[in-house]
Symmetry: C2
Subunit: 346 residues, 2 copies
């Protein structure tokens, strides 16, 4: 049902209730229905979006905490915000026109009136699934690309290990590493995910970390000569085992530490002395410093998608009302592939 | 008593007895007296050295372990080897001439016949104390310079924290950081060392980590706005507290982790998640990759020494027979300043 401009319509929203400690729960969010005037106020440069897909990303946990440094906290009583794909319904900004598809920061609601200085990209290539702009062609894709190519500086033949390897970022790092001529192993938390890594994403090897008695033994089995690059998504015990298996001058781009975000007491990592023994570089990064590379990234990745050389697996939750469960599920490893919430089909 | 060329003379040595686990003890070494022919064999390119000063360096602990990756292990039954200052008695290598002073890798003994492909530098500037070539003008000096200027990339006005700050490397990092226009705080393990930091080396502030109830509180007191650069020499609990206090885009050059070398079970570091929250770079390094900068380093540091703008404190043990105690003392924080063993006065 298309909404006409200016009409007041119902606007389903996912509200953030209050700051979270420990694991987030569905009840930390509330699905409500408000109304919105489908109009950009006279003279305003705001943009009115109809949201199509919303992205569930691990970093969103940090926005649920109070006074967090790296990202602004969510506002209790207001909708969550995050990356999404949308169609422009009306625009006070001449750079975005009615009917265009965009991706960038939007609200967890059916319609969002967003400020013109929000991060928003026009979608120039709509001959791929639009939901890919929450993943492969959006922030996670850029994160995989920047962390691997810019932070880790891979060389052909190097040995690469990726944790949370079937996730939104990991599955891409693995494929980028294969394209770069590296040997690639991933870890994930179920047989289904491990099968995906080996059979769909072309990893050389993979293991289910939940079924390994000793992570150090698992890594030694996969990397008898050690690891050059560890693309770090999880932290904790796995990082500790990896440190024992790094090669000289190894690099660890730290994309995330999802195993640690919800713990009151973080796991102790005991093998840091290998940083000096092996002259390891550990580099925390976020994608924000790399968005200027987005056109270069698209030029690299779009042909590979069209030739079927890069594939992408998404886990789609249908309906905004299923958004809280999808987001909470991320921290329990429930998703298989990139977790997306489908708000509306176009 | 000068030894004539070709003469067989007594040669006191410090032998490495066997591989060490846990803290090294004096009894892991033995002081013995052998004899040596003061002559370079006919046709050999070896160099015969009379050792003057030997350097006690924290990394030497790793050479006492078996099958260690980063450095070759000491050979049981043979003298320890390490950095030292010596005079050339005879030379089969045309680049080094009889009577010249040199610094580089030598043996823990009175006289050493060393291979021509050992790392050895001619001492061109002898108008400073020769023992400085085990410290300020040698490997520790280059380590301080490379780790601070090359690895940490300091900017004027940045906040710098240094652990083991009165040691061979730390006292120099602090002075280099002051010369670079940084705010500098150091930690050390006694009142005497803290006084040195504040009153002799010009640190802006300093604290005795043994007297602080809570290292996090101590760091917050010294760095209310956080730390840009942590020059890491110790590891463990102090690193954990530092991670809580790092600023965005902070850098941690890892020069060493002396608190961890002798522990069977390393301390767990629990705050690594700040690497991603604050996009921290942690970089293990050794000086070996940076020796090509040595001439540049000398050009920088020699004028400062002559103008009294860089000072250096040494802790000298007199006599090779006191070498084992001096080396073991490093790991108990007994030394005040750079630990040197005086083998002979020239």
């Amino acid at each position: 049902m298309a909404a006409a401009s200016g009409e007041a319509v119902k606007n389903k929203q996912v509200l953030f209730k209050d700051y979270v400690t420990g694991f987030p729960k569905e009840s930390d969010m509330a699905v409500v229905e408000s109304t919105i005037q489908l109009k950009v106020p006279e003279g305003s440069s705001e943009i009115l979006l109809k949201n199509l897909y919303l992205s569930c990303d691990p970093y969103m946990r940090s926005r649920m905490s109070k006074n967090f440094t790296a990202h602004p906290s969510f506002v209790p009583g207001s909708p969550l915000t995050g990356f999404g794909v949308a169609r422009v319904l009306e625009s006070g900004n001449p750079n975005f026109k009615k009917g265009e598809f965009v991706w960038g920061l939007t609200g967890w609601e059916e319609y969002s009136l967003i400020s013109s200085n929000q991060m928003l990209f026009k979608i120039e290539h709509a001959d791929v699934p639009l939901s890919y702009y929450t993943g492969l062609l959006g922030m996670p894709g850029m994160t995989a690309y920047a962390g691997f190519h810019e932070v880790a500086s891979p060389k052909k033949g190097e040995k690469v290990f990726i944790s949370a390897a079937s996730g939104a970022v990991g599955q891409l790092v693995g494929q980028f590493a294969k394209l770069a001529g590296c040997y690639v192993v991933g870890s994930a938390g179920s047989k289904e995910k491990v099968d995906l890594l080996k059979n769909k994403f072309g990893f050389d090897d993979a293991f289910n970390y939940k079924e390994e008695q000793d992570l150090n033994v698992a890594l030694k089995r996969c990397f008898p000569d050690g690891i050059d690059i560890y693309y770090e998504n999880v932290g904790g015990k796995l990082l500790d085992a990896v440190l024992l298996n790094m090669k000289m001058n190894g690099r660890i781009p730290v994309c995330g530490m999802i195993s640690q975000y919800n713990l009151d007491q973080h796991e102790g990592v005991t093998n840091l002395v290998h940083i000096i023994y092996k002259q390891i570089r550990i580099q925390g990064f976020t994608v924000n410093e790399y968005f200027q590379l987005y056109p270069k990234f698209l030029g690299f990745v779009l042909p590979h998608i069209k030739e079927g050389k890069i594939v992408y697996v998404e886990d789609k939750a249908e309906g905004l009302e299923n958004g809280p469960a999808a987001l909470v599920g991320l921290y329990n490893g429930c998703n298989v592939g990139k977790q997306v919430v489908v708000v509306a089909h176009e």
